[in-house]
Assembly symmetry: C2
Homo-oligomer: 229 residues x 2
DNA sequence: GATAAATTCATACGTATGTTTTAAATGCCG
DNA sequence: CGGCATTTAAAACATACGTATGAATTTATC
């Protein structure tokens, strides 16, 4: 770059872009929003995206990571707290599921636009997102699967993996419904719905396996990585 | 149209378009596929979409309806059969859920591309799809909610509605996972996974309500229609 | 207050978008 | 044969796309 340029507010441009991206990508999908519409909604120059994020794709990825980083950190923290307070005893399934879903519900309620974005783009993320998401989620999933294994020794781990996926589908569905309803926030109602969601997911996770396990051998085929315990 | 034109095969053009649309829209989303790419993949003239479907949007909608019509018809049929064989007794939850999920799993396994399309576009369908989908799904949902009410008199109907939505999220999640795995079809394994899914969903549906019900009063706000019982 | 770095700006580039319009070419039915 | 529906190729339509450029302007540092 040469010199020069005009900065109206110090660093709000990044945030304005992220907020507009969260809302618009959630409403119309990645390919449904052009840079013109996006930058105008953010009241920002067309070239600002390239300057602050490098490309539209990177902005999209950052829109996810900004929130998921805090969600996943909170998940890990709540699970650790619960684990500490249990003093060696295995956690209940409802407790584990609560640690998993509460932080997501929290962020979803505070940012309904993000809920919509997740529902729209998380089930089938564009290929360029895979790397970002894998890095962000893998360790968290590993942690919770471990806790579930200890809480449900009777359920084979591959079935736990399958069921955890189903539970994540459920929460996305709920997020979509909630975010498209739009009403005044009501802590009592929100707590009740979260409780319902936790109950639903925990119920499914803890139910006696429907299969002997051998027939399900490959719900997920073994991922071939170098370091694969 | 003037005159002229060349017809290679009698009426395969429609089908080739629908098949290519199912695959490509599932892989890249509605806005991620251009008419040029689509018609070339279908080995069909660029103008064929306009001729047979009128527009890209209509083709997209027809891609959904072609399969959902058979899925929903099969759902209704299986529920009716089960109801007849029960001779007045209320159906079990697992049976109802089986009637709901088996036809979808069937079609999903036979057409993995459609599974992908559903997972990508069903949670947050483009606005122009709403009308089509509502007309296709509303009566079926009403039917199954009725059956669930009879099977689970202890669970308030608004909670049933919520949970049914969660269950649909779970099956979409499963469809996505399955369709992205890709392996030789294995009837035993497929049956086992369907059983797992049914178990998961039925478990969640039948669990004792976590809330007293009043606090949840408006999971879905009352839809204001003219004819609203 | 000067100098340099960071940021914003307006604009332009090349390509792709969905749709429509030409025209001619083909198969089918009566 | 004459008419009809379908398919094709080719081109044009106006608009939108994501990104790059280089200067203008603001902020930071001395």
């Amino acid at each position: 770059m040469s010199s020069g340029g005009k900065k109206h507010n110090p660093a709000t441009t990044r945030l304005r872009l992220l907020d507009a991206a969260e809302r618009l990508f959630g409403e119309h999908g990645y390919n449904g929003v052009g840079m013109r519409a996006l930058t105008e909604a953010a009241r920002v120059n067309l070239a600002a995206t390239a300057y602050h994020f490098g490309s539209k794709k990177t902005l999209y990825a950052e829109t996810f990571l900004r929130r998921f980083r805090v969600v996943n950190a909170e998940r890990v923290k709540q699970l650790a707290t619960a684990d500490r307070e249990a003093r060696g005893l295995p956690l209940t399934v409802e407790c584990i599921v609560d640690c998993l879903l509460r932080p997501a519900a929290q962020v979803g309620l505070e940012h309904p636009a993000f809920d919509k974005l997740v529902g729209r783009s998380m089930l089938a993320p564009p290929k360029f997102l895979h790397a970002y998401l894998k890095a962000e989620f893998e360790p968290v999933v590993k942690l919770f699967i471990g806790a579930l294994e200890r809480a449900l020794p009777a359920v084979p781990v591959n079935i736990l993996n399958l069921r955890l996926g189903l539970a994540m589908g459920a929460i996305m569905m709920l997020g979509m419904q909630m975010s498209s309803i739009r009403m005044k926030r009501d802590p009592k109602r929100e707590a009740a719905i979260l409780k319902e969601l936790v109950r639903f997911a925990a119920s499914g996770l803890a139910s006696p396996p429907a299969t002997v396990g051998a027939e399900l051998a490959l719900v997920r085929p073994p991922v071939k990585t170098k370091r694969n315990a």
